[in-house]
């Protein structure tokens, strides 16, 4: 049994704006019978003001797919195309109170269908099937999910794990073969986010408090170093920080590896120096 909010149940049992608008100004579609959920949106747009005057949906899917579509039509109605294009899947989920984690992809589908409907209007009303850009490479072959879609889900919803990504995009939810590739995309994104945050603060490492320093080091260990070591069956933990000397302990496969000293100096040490402070020194506990 799913823990659906009253709002989800209400929109499921009494869906608003069901159907199709005849001679619609825009038609957007997403999903397929194979995937187990699909959504079609039609919109009527005021040509002068670009306000969505009417919007109707048809959905094949579970209760949360129907509720997401229904609430989306309420949210988009009366908005200008520009305002409507800013609706994210998180907005849809919030409007419903919440959605179970494993059902978040239903809200993503709503966002994608709206995007397609707006594109359809801009292109003169010819129906548009939401499609991931041709150039973007397919990561999950079971559900045909591209890197682009995964990246967007990570950024919009601040996803941190492969499991999160499966809940939001379905990628990795069937055979699971692509989970490694999803982890790599995630690693890349998380690695990019950190330096940005550092620049915002503009505080050099040496000026941080001891607690901030430890946090910064742990961040790098978790996002940059551990994922690499994990691939060889190893891991790492922070033991101590004394001045510029970072004491760490290699775990798992790394602990017994004859190349562990090389790993420490060349990989762990260099990564910390590059990301935080070139004076840092790494020692084995």
């Amino acid at each position: 049994m799913w823990d659906y909010t009253d709002k989800v149940l209400d929109h499921f049992k009494n869906p608003r704006n069901v159907g199709t608008i005849e001679n619609a100004d825009g038609t957007g579609q997403v999903g397929s019978l194979i995937c187990g959920d699909a959504l079609k949106l039609t919109i009527k747009v005021n040509k002068e003001t670009e306000v969505i005057e009417d919007i109707k949906f048809q959905t094949f899917g579970c209760a949360s797919a129907i509720a997401s579509s229904s609430v989306l039509t309420e949210m988009a109605k009366g908005k200008t195309l520009e305002e409507a294009s800013k609706i994210t899947n998180q907005d849809i989920a919030n409007a419903l109170g919440s959605l179970p984690e494993a059902k978040m992809h239903c809200s993503v589908m709503g966002m994608e269908a709206l995007e397609a409907a707006i594109k359809s209007y801009r292109q003169g009303g010819k129906p548009v099937v939401f499609e991931q850009t041709q150039e973007s490479k397919i990561v999950c072959e079971c559900f045909n999910i591209t890197e682009e879609v995964i990246l967007k889900a990570i950024h919009t919803n601040h996803l941190k794990t492969v499991e999160d990504i499966t809940h939001f995009t379905k990628a990795g939810g069937a055979c699971g073969k692509c989970k490694g590739a999803i982890q790599q995309i995630l690693d890349k994104v998380l690695a990019c986010e950190l330096p940005q945050k550092k620049q915002e603060g503009k505080k050099p490492f040496s000026a941080l408090t001891i607690v901030e320093k430890i946090k910064a080091i742990e961040n790098i260990l978790n996002t940059e170093i551990k994922p690499q070591l994990n691939k060889d069956g190893g891991s790492i933990e922070l033991v101590d920080l004394n001045g510029n000397v970072v004491t760490v302990r290699l775990l798992g496969g790394c602990a017994s590896c004859i190349a562990s000293q090389m790993t420490l100096k060349n990989f762990v040490g260099k990564t910390l120096q590059d990301k935080l402070d070139k004076n840092l020194e790494v020692k084995q506990a």
């Binding site: 069901v18 797919a65 379905k170």
Partner: protein, 385 residues
């Protein structure tokens, strides 16, 4: 609201008369059956009575029945015991539509170096005998296939499968959890080496089951650390549950004929009416050879969870093979193995009746379901208006 319970393949109601038999063993006769004192030790008789009742349901000898914690333990125990008794053999065979208790145990063995062949099924869920014959060889330690499928009710030719396995010197185990109490389960007739059944599928309490081990079959216990069950399953016996299970087994045997008459009649009526009233509907499973209580039906263009939720509003309990009901994103492995197209797999509903299902209840389903399907199809983008 009155509940119309049509999910009896998932679990069943513990009958009040069964509970009544169990109750004294919680509060009055709570002694340990292994104790020397008469107060505890005499509970052994209650366990042996139950063993006799369960053995009759299977047409087994009482000493061939080991009480377990349920179907899953029976499956695991049998599979590991079988491969341990013929250690030089490194091949096991199962089918693609098994319960996860069997599939996962087999896959575990495959990860430990066993060769595993998973036999496919046809569009009706029927066992592929030709494929089976082609992979069976002298290296096969165990063949394990279910007696009847939980989702579609399709019955496997277990007697023939067992015969072929024995001809190559392999042991045969069958998961009879769904078959027991619904069709005759004569383990001597099919000549199985191991058979697992569960109490809560036959109106007994949850958390109890039995494993049949044919006399003379080498058996290595799964649970160790006590002399209970003749050294084959350690752990203090769950006396109240075993007593309840025994009585439920006796009742199941007694009422078995009703499944071929009353239950089947109601199931067939439901099937006939749904097919007649709802277009783009199809039955999943082998209609010629299936459990008399099970109906697996797919409604095109709509999704199972939505149907279940509207049925739930009417107090009707059923289940679905749709991906969305499990959160697994993939529809039922049984329907996929049968090659049921995705759109029909997503829209599948399983009704499983019991001997307590009434004509009135079935009429209610027939009355409300066409409306639910129409309502969802009106929302669906795939249904042509």
């Amino acid at each position: 609201m009155k509940v119309i319970y049509l999910d009896n393949n998932a679990t069943t109601r513990t009958l009040p008369e069964v509970l009544q038999k169990m109750a004294p063993y919680f509060t009055d006769f709570y002694g340990n059956a292994s104790s020397i004192h008469t107060f505890g030790g005499s509970n052994k008789h209650a366990i042996e009575t139950a063993r006799g009742q369960v053995s009759k349901l299977l047409n087994a000898e009482p000493e061939e029945v080991i009480f377990t914690s349920g179907g899953t333990e029976g499956d695991s125990s049998a599979i590991f015991a079988a491969v341990n008794s013929s250690r030089q053999k490194k091949h096991i065979i199962t089918s693609a539509v098994e319960h996860p208790a069997v599939l996962e145990a087999c896959k575990y063995l495959a990860s430990r170096g066993y060769r595993l062949d998973i036999i496919g099924v046809d569009e009706k869920g029927r066992f592929n005998m030709e494929q089976y014959k082609s992979v069976l060889d002298e290296d096969t330690a165990l063949v394990t296939t279910m007696w009847a499928n939980s989702e579609t009710g399709t019955i496997f030719p277990v007697k023939e499968i067992a015969k072929l396995a024995h001809a190559k010197g392999a042991l045969f185990h069958t998961d009879a959890v769904q078959a027991a109490g619904k069709i005759p389960t004569d383990v001597k007739d099919i000549d199985a080496d191991f058979v697992s059944i569960s109490s809560h599928k036959i109106n007994g309490p949850k958390g109890t089951g039995a494993l049949y081990v044919k006399k003379g079959t080498h058996f290595m216990p799964f649970m160790r650390g006590g002399h209970q069950e003749n050294l084959r399953r350690a752990g203090t016996e769950n006396v109240p549950n075993i007593v309840g299970f025994g009585y439920a087994a006796e009742l199941a045997k007694q009422h078995l004929p009703e499944y071929q008459t009353q239950v089947k009649t109601l199931r067939d009526l439901l099937e006939k009416e749904l097919l007649a009233q709802i277009p783009d509907t199809k039955i999943n499973g082998d209609v010629e050879n299936r459990l008399p209580n099970t109906l697996n039906v797919s409604f095109g263009y709509i999704e199972g969870e939505s149907i279940l939720m509207f049925l739930d509003e009417e107090g009707i309990c059923a289940s679905s093979g749709s991906a969305c009901t499990t959160g697994s994103l993939e529809p039922s492995h049984v329907l996929r193995a049968m090659g049921v197209p995705f759109q029909f797999a997503h829209g599948s509903i399983r009704f499983s009746l019991s001997r307590f299902t009434t004509l009135e209840e079935i009429k209610t389903v027939i009355k409300v379901l066409p409306g639910i399907v129409a309502r969802l199809r009106a929302i669906s983008p795939f249904k042509k208006a």
